[in-house]
């Protein structure tokens, strides 16, 4: 059944901070259209892993092989800096937990979206603005607010703007770090709905790091559970949550408050 090639293959990725383990020996494959969730408590290494994959941190060992459009599978870690930057602007996207880390707060919403288009060569002002408007609408931000700065937006709107900015170039892989963290529950639901719709429409693959099991239950096809920098369990999302095998996963699942 598995004739396609994986979009992303992570092999034995490790990163230490001196004597302390960030993450160690993490390997997995992600196929086109698939969403993988990485869960674990604070300090479990999930954010370190994400940062190593996305090129924000240099891992000590391992490989991150991405199936590029032009040249097929390439190890991202051995790419030149300009090549990697190009990849980050075109086929990859990164949605930060704090929208302020992913947006430019000093320029308008429209410019935030348009900037990424210009980075891949768009030059026609009218077209850039039209595409920015279209994307603001897709993330449910009224087009008339295109000239406002993100500072004037609520937290939920800022997060939606960050998603628009990231997806406007039609990436194939999105990394998300606690995308619903710090938002009201009602705003979270709206964002979940939006992300699920976009992943479906665009056939995106995504890696979502979160500590929220309800979020991964609704968004992720597969789950990896991390503890102390190691992957302790992985599998189909509902299998890991309904029939957890590892002591830590059992503790995690049984600790969720029922509403």
């Amino acid at each position: 059944m598995s004739e396609q090639a994986p979009l992303l293959s992570v092999r034995e990725l490790s990163k230490s901070y001196g004597a302390r383990r960030g993450c160690a020996d993490v390997s997995f494959d992600l196929w086109p259209g698939e969403v993988i969730g990485i869960v674990g408590e604070s300090g479990s290494g999930k954010s370190t892993l994400l940062a190593c994959m996305a090129g924000y941190l240099a891992p000590d060992a391992g490989a991150v092989v991405f199936d590029t459009r032009a040249e097929g599978p390439r190890d991202v870690l051995s790419m030149s800096e300009p090549e990697r930057r190009m990849l980050a602007r075109t086929d990859w996207a990164f949605v930060h937990q704090n929208p302020r880390d992913g947006l430019r707060m000093g320029v308008s919403a429209g410019a935030n979206v348009g900037e990424r288009l210009m980075a891949v060569g768009a030059r026609h002002y009218g077209q850039i603005r039209a595409q920015a408007e279209d994307w603001l609408e897709r993330v449910e931000i009224a087009a008339e607010r295109i000239d406002e700065r993100p500072r004037q937006f609520s937290g939920g709107m800022q997060q939606r703007l960050q998603i628009a900015r990231n997806l406007v170039t039609g990436p194939r892989l999105v990394f998300m770090d606690e995308p619903t963290g710090g938002l009201d529950v009602s705003v979270q639901a709206r964002l979940l709905d939006l992300m699920r719709g976009l992943v479906r429409q665009m056939g995106l693959s995504a890696v979502i790091v979160t500590h929220d099991l309800a979020v991964v239950r609704l968004l992720a096809d597969r789950l990896m559970v991390m503890k102390d920098g190691l992957v302790v369990e992985e599998g189909l999302t509902d299998q890991v949550l309904d029939d957890p095998q590892h002591a830590y996963t059992q503790l995690l699942v049984s600790s969720v408050l029922q509403v």
Partner: protein, 225 residues
């Protein structure tokens, strides 16, 4: 279409002193096309456990479960996902949805996943919701605000919107009034007559008598405590 052979299931409760619960051993079962098999046995005998192993959200500790030729014991997640997309349907007892998503979209979703375009998927979803007496004014609302019986019908609509060749039904008629119960039973009968292989848990004996072609008692698979 469903073949269960020598299946065993145990739970290891690491946070309760590593207690090991052997709950099932040597389970055997066969469901062919056009059959509707009802699982019976006392509460706790393992009906739901067996259903969950076939759905793939419980691991299989020994033996083999095949659904439409796909081996589920040790299956790769993406193979289970592919199986659920077009072959294996499921009506659970609980509706789990992203809050805020309209009922019509919730029901149309399995078709959208199969690549059916929005208009067609929503028209089929609307037809099945109408049949299950969910009035059109509720379609734009999220089912999370609905009553238990309405949620159950949305769940059933979602489970029958595509003609899955294999169907798992967990108490599909629980919490339904007589009129809706009759609709659901006739939908199950139609699915069976078009050749679906159906495995279900029905606590309602007359429902069982109406749709099941055969019953399997799971008590024989339970491991004595």
């Amino acid at each position: 279409m469903i073949t269960v052979r020598d299946v065993a299931k145990r739970f290891t409760l690491h946070n309760q002193g590593g207690a090991v619960l052997e709950v099932m051993a040597d389970a055997r079962l066969e469901v062919g096309p056009g059959e509707c098999v009802g699982l019976v046995g006392a509460s706790g005998a393992g009906k739901s456990t067996l259903m969950r192993m076939i759905w793939g959200n419980y691991r299989i500790n020994a033996g083999s479960i095949q659904v439409a030729g796909v081996e589920l014991a040790g299956a790769a997640p993406r193979d289970v996902i592919a199986l659920r997309r077009g072959t294996l349907g499921h009506v659970s007892q609980f509706l789990r949805v992203v809050p805020r998503v309209p009922t019509l979209a919730v029901v149309a979703e399995p078709l959208r996943t199969l690549g059916v375009d929005v208009a067609e998927a929503e028209s089929q979803a609307g037809a099945i919701l109408t049949r299950l007496n969910i009035p059109e004014r509720l379609w734009p609302l999220s089912p999370t605000t609905f009553s238990g019986g309405e949620q159950q019908r949305v769940n059933i609509a979602r489970g029958f919107v595509h003609p899955w060749p294999v169907l798992l039904l967990d108490e599909p008629t629980a919490s339904l009034d007589a009129a809706n119960r009759a609709v659901v039973l006739s939908m199950i009968g139609e699915a069976r007559d078009r050749g679906a292989a159906i495995l279900g848990i029905f606590h309602d004996e007359s429902a069982r008598a109406q749709v099941c072609t055969r019953l399997v008692d799971v008590s024989g698979f339970a491991v004595a405590a």
